[in-house]
């Protein structure tokens, strides 16, 4: 109580914990407990949708050694990597333009970049289906121009997932890059210019290295979001592609193999956490 009385206006330590309690309870009930439950289930076996008593490592061993599962993981990771790379390539010029834009325009540009996030991913992915489908905008246009005889397969494969995924997650890349680019002191570029560096050299030797923290942050964000993405791979890739999130969905809700689905989910989560920690390390090294 003395702490409370000592500094009026600033709540004491006890009060602060009390204020945090509802949030802590919520997190415990809705995140931590289900996670523990998932962890337990992942060590069970199942038979015809029924979870059997006793514990087993079979799910993990099966996932890590099964021949098909390696392709599942590799393809998922390669797809997420492609989305990350594309986002970086497409996002950099946009971020550079926003960082250099006059202050009064920046708010509007930020809004334009973030605006797609206001639209549900399901809607956006279906939108891409309309554009990329066999009878979609692209195929119809190319057909009308006589450039193609048969429609291109732009959906129901990895290409569709990569295109859709890039569009869905590009804003995260742009926003992280913009923050990094705006922190670059303009005078450094003036200095490079006076020292004789042309625009390309100045970009490669000054702008790009100094944008690396933003590039890493954006990449980790996009990569982990894409790894866990479910709607876009399902709608634009369908069952023709191998994608972890889709496989988890199939296991859990089609095959009713909950133990394997949870094991797969947890493996994915471990990988994402590992990436996150590596990124923390990298950024700390950068700052040192």
């Amino acid at each position: 109580m003395s702490a409370l009385a000592a500094t009026p206006g600033t709540p004491g330590r006890g009060m602060r914990w009390l204020a945090l309690l509802p949030a802590l309870l919520l997190v415990t009930l809705l995140v931590a407990l289900p996670l523990v439950d998932m962890g337990l289930i992942s060590f069970k076996s199942e038979s015809f949708g029924q979870i059997q008593p006793g514990f087993t490592l079979a799910n993990y061993i099966g996932l890590l050694t099964g021949a098909g599962n390696l392709t599942l993981f590799v393809n998922t990771f390669l797809t997420a990597a492609a989305v990350t790379l594309l986002s970086a390539l497409l996002g950099f010029p946009v971020a550079a333009a926003i960082a250099r834009a006059p202050e009064k325009w920046r708010g509007i540009l930020y809004f334009l970049v973030a605006a797609p996030l206001l639209v549900n991913t399901v809607v956006r992915s279906y939108g891409w289906l309309l554009i990329l489908g066999r009878k979609g905008l692209v195929n119809e246009a190319l057909g009308a121009l006589g450039l193609i005889d048969a429609p291109l397969a732009l959906t129901g494969n990895y290409l569709g997932v990569i295109i859709g995924g890039t569009q869905v997650f590009l804003p995260f890349m742009i926003l992280s890059l913009t923050t990094s680019l705006m922190a670059i002191d303009r005078r450094l570029l003036d200095a490079a210019d006076i020292l004789g560096a042309g625009p390309v050299r100045a970009f490669l030797t000054v702008t790009l290295p100094l944008a690396v923290p933003g590039l890493i942050a954006g990449s980790v964000l996009v990569f982990s979001l894409m790894l866990g993405a479910f709607v876009t791979p399902l709608i634009l890739g369908g069952t023709a592609i191998k994608y972890i999130s889709v496989a988890v969905y199939t296991d859990a809700l089609v095959l009713f193999n909950l133990p394997r689905a949870t094991a797969m989910s947890l493996l994915l989560m471990v990988v994402v956490l590992a990436i996150y920690f590596v990124q923390k390390r990298l950024t700390r090294q950068q700052e040192a």
């Binding site: 005078r187 450094l188 003036d190 200095a191 490079a192 210019d193 006076i194 004789g196 560096a197 100094l210």
Partner: protein
């Protein structure tokens, strides 16, 4: 015939309603240390940035080494620049920072290495080659910035308030070092500052700027002893302005309250405004021959004492005496002022 390293002709730059450069003419001589001096907003930085190519003039011509560079980008002007905030590349080592310009010019590695060594020697920091800028003190960073700018042997080295971010002691130290480096390299230095003492100490010539114009361009001695205008006299050093009537026959100026001050002026008889420096006045006991006054304020400075003395007519003058006076002169005390013959005045 012209030995101008940089020549600026009728340069104009406007930002909206304000004119940052109002038809400026300026020749910078080969090898000189020229300072653009003025308070903020006088256009000194704009003028430097236009010479550097970082700003585009609205009108006028800039030549460097006889070459018209008005429309050239900075990288084609062969200049060096030191910024107030050091602006070293934070992700590169000190060695790479200094070698940046040479690398951009495509110099061979061996030459870059030799030149970087030479520059580190010049700024007396050879042991810092592999460090990053963040590990250096402000003074060291600014020395490295100087080395980076000089490494390419620029036609002109420009320094934009380079010592402004440093504390006083370090500033003094770096001023001396700048002077030494200027002497050793023989380069042309263009320096921008608002600090008049710094300008007087460093420069071969000073251009005092005001409102986008050069008010006076002359040596430090001339600027101090023969200021071209009241503005310059007021801007450089301490000065008191005393209004009176000049009588050439008696070689004196009579102030409004009847006090007379000896003066030898290249002016006709009539109303004048005398400019009196603190060191032109001696303090004497009350009743002595001279102008009576009352001490208003005493302030001790390093090595000197500055007295503000109010004259009978209400004007205040500053008097500087060497050292700390043994017998304390307290505020409120009556004194007599002895003026040296005044040579500086402006007609009214």
């Amino acid at each position: 015939m012209s030995t101008a390293k940089v020549s600026v002709h009728q340069l104009v730059k406007r930002y909206g309603a304000t004119t940052a450069a109002d038809h400026i003419d300026l020749d910078i001589r080969d090898g000189e240390f020229l300072t653009l001096l003025g308070s903020s907003g006088c256009g000194k930085t704009t003028l430097m940035r236009m010479i550097a190519g970082l700003e585009t003039p609205d009108a006028g011509v800039i030549t460097i080494d006889g070459r018209d560079v008005t429309r050239l980008p900075p990288r084609q002007r062969r200049l060096g620049m030191v910024f107030q905030q050091y602006s070293l590349f934070p992700h590169m080592t000190i060695g790479d920072n200094i070698g940046y310009g040479l690398r951009a010019q495509g110099a061979p590695d061996a030459e870059i290495k030799a030149r970087v060594d030479e520059m580190l020697e010049l700024i007396q920091l050879p042991q810092l080659r592999e460090r990053k800028p963040g590990q250096l003190s402000g003074g060291q960073q600014q020395r490295v910035a100087l080395a980076r700018a000089l490494a390419t042997r620029p036609s002109v080295l420009m320094l934009d308030e380079p010592l402004g971010a440093l504390d006083l002691k370090l500033r003094r130290q770096l001023q001396a070092e700048l002077k030494r480096i200027h002497r050793e390299t023989g380069s042309t230095f263009l320096f921008v500052t608002h600090d008049q003492e710094e300008a007087l100490f460093l420069s071969d010539r000073i251009a005092v700027m005001r409102g986008g114009r050069i008010e006076q361009l002359a040596s430090p001695q001339d600027i101090y002893l023969r200021p071209a205008s009241e503005f310059v006299a007021d801007f450089i050093g301490d000065v008191a302005f005393l209004d009176g009537d000049y009588l050439p026959d008696s070689r004196s100026v009579t102030l409004a309250d009847g006090a007379r001050i000896g003066a030898e002026l290249p002016l006709r008889a009539g109303p004048v405004r005398l400019a009196v420096r603190p060191e032109d006045i001696l303090l004497a006991p009350p009743g002595a021959d001279g102008v009576a006054g009352t001490v208003a304020e005493v302030s001790h400075q390093t090595g000197t004492t500055l007295y503000a003395v109010r004259l009978a007519g209400g004007q205040e003058v500053k008097v500087r005496s060497l050292g700390l006076s043994a017998e304390a002169v307290a505020p409120g005390q009556a004194v007599t002022l002895r003026f040296a013959d005044c040579r500086l005045a402006f007609p009214r």
